[in-house]
């Protein structure tokens, strides 16, 4: 029987809620494991979960420098979508979407996945043509997409300024109905619990300080809690990728670390029931179940490892919000925060074997890593277990930049701050 169910809720309620077990143990690290996953964020935890569930590899440690879920998995704006243009991205993110659709059942943990749709607003006829092209590319690969007229958008989002006198009048939009949001912390906790129950050791407050080698081969890590050996060492550390790879003697990566801010307002009554993106700048918004509007915009625009943002971007994001929703002018912002994003040179991720023997690398998520969490772990676990990539992540190699095989969905070139 599932650990969390209506029956177990009732039973524990009647017995004073004394029998619940912690969602994950706090084990001390063992001397060695089959696989070490560096990074206890969403991707590291889902990797450990799928290693255990899909491949039967349970002698696994997840090493987390801070506490579980303290990085980007707890800092993102929770949008989940698969509305990409290029086939490699569409296939990967659609695989993720299918995992999301069954994730709460799979984990026996409510990740509050809500398929409320994601609507990209178009403000010029040319942009709408471009969206139609992307929508057709998605439908060609079996992903849902539909164009919406301004009248349909006005009915869906009544608060939106759809007038012809708006600063950037809305001429239509591209909707993916199956897109939506999920509760980000629950994703981390659900994967952690699922991995823990299958035997994975989740070791918090354990910073990797170096790599152990056996000849050329990576054979473990030294950490703030001692040396730990493993046949396979997997790196899933997002914004800290450059720092961790430098410990392994790799000085340059096709990645820059940039800070992305997010914001939440005070709680409002139901205001918007979809994820909305602005087409004349970089702005996106949804409403949480608590009622706060959760929104964000562009990167700060220069390399940063500071998990906080700068004021000019705050100003820009607010002005974009008001261009769409003049009625929000008096709503108060409750919080803002920043997360460090591993911006790759083509805006697409890296899930691969190597670059050193015994090492596996998962990075380059830019600011789109949350929606990828299930498929990222699923593909990375496959790659680690079988020592070869799955078809779905085979295009996401590290050497694709030097081989001319970039996957540049936005067509932006090697300018990470603009992806």
């Amino acid at each position: 029987m599932a650990e969390y169910s209506a029956f177990s809720l009732l039973k524990n309620a009647l017995t004073g809620n004394k029998d619940w077990k912690p969602a994950w143990r706090k084990p001390d690290p063992k001397a060695s494991y089959d696989v070490i996953v560096i990074g206890g964020g969403g991707h590291g935890l889902s990797t450990a979960y799928y290693l255990a569930k899909e491949h039967g590899i349970t002698n696994v440690a997840v090493l987390e420098k801070g506490w579980l879920g303290s990085g980007n998995v707890g800092r993102n704006t929770t949008a989940v979508r698969s509305n990409y243009l290029l086939p490699a991205n569409t296939r990967f993110y659609e695989h993720s979407m299918k995992l999301w659709e069954n994730l709460s059942h799979d984990l026996n943990y409510n990740v509050m996945f809500s398929q409320r749709g994601c609507l990209n607003l178009a403000h010029t006829p040319a942009q709408l043509d471009d969206f139609a092209r992307r929508g057709n590319a998605m439908r060609h690969l079996g992903v849902d997409a539909e164009l919406m007229t301004t009248a349909e958008i006005a009915r869906l989002v009544p608060a939106l300024d759809v007038s012809a006198t708006a600063r950037f009048p809305i001429v239509g939009g591209l909707m993916q109905r199956r897109a939506g949001t999920a509760r980000h912390d629950a994703v981390a906790w659900g994967y952690a619990r699922g991995a823990d129950r299958r035997g994975v050791d989740i070791i918090e407050n354990c910073e990797v300080t170096g790599f152990l080698r056996d000849g050329d081969r990576i054979s473990g890590v030294s950490t703030s809690r001692g040396e730990i050996r493993a046949r396979k060492v997997a790196v899933a550390v997002a914004g800290s990728t450059g720092q961790v790879m430098r410990l392994a003697g790799i000085d340059t990566m096709p990645i820059e670390s940039h800070v992305l801010q997010a914001f939440v307002t005070e709680s409002l009554k139901p205001f918007i029931n979809t994820v909305l993106t602005f087409g004349m700048g970089h702005f996106y918004m949804s409403q949480s179940d608590k009622g706060g509007l959760v929104y964000g915009g562009d990167l700060d625009g220069y390399n940063s490892y500071a998990q906080r943002g700068s004021l000019p971007v705050v100003d820009e994001v607010m002005s974009e919000m008001l261009a769409l929703f003049p009625g929000l002018a008096r709503v108060r912002m409750l919080r803002s925060w920043g997360g460090v994003c591993d911006m790759s040179m083509d805006g697409s991720p890296i899930i691969t074997i190597g670059p050193l023997p015994g090492m596996y690398l998962n990075c380059g998520w830019c600011y789109g890593g949350f929606k990828a969490t299930p498929a990222s772990g699923w593909c990375f676990a496959w790659t680690i277990a079988k020592d070869e990539p799955h078809d779905i992540n085979a295009p996401f190699t590290l050497d694709r930049f030097h081989r001319g095989l970039v996957i540049d969905d936005k067509g932006q070139g090697a300018t990470p701050r603009l992806h």
Binding site: Y305, S310, P312, H402, R417
Partner: protein
């Protein structure tokens, strides 16, 4: 964040345009060394700490600047003209005035 432009003095960051990593070395135009070109375009040091980078004072004097900024604290330890020969240009100007 304030950047102290050598011409204009301390100015708000919104006057400046970030032009990225200043550590990269562009191969000679005629170079056929593919690895060197690939490294120039794609590979980054991406340090957590002092970072050598290029900014343009696009909302001011439009000079290209080489800035050393700490990516953890945003503290700026040096700002200089990016062009090596810029000093001599500045000197000629001064001489012309006198």
């Amino acid at each position: 964040m304030l950047i102290t432009c050598p011409y204009c003095g301390p100015r708000d960051v919104i006057e400046f345009t970030y032009q990225g990593d200043g550590n990269r070395e562009r191969p000679q135009s005629a170079s056929q060394d593919l690895d060197a070109w690939n490294a120039y375009v794609y590979d980054r040091l991406n340090p957590a700490g002092d970072h050598n980078e290029i900014w343009q004072h696009s909302g001011g004097c439009r000079a290209h600047l080489r800035v050393v900024r700490n990516t953890l604290t945003h503290e700026i330890s040096s700002v200089a003209f990016a062009r090596g020969d810029h000093k001599s240009v500045a000197r000629h100007k001064t001489e012309g005035k006198s």
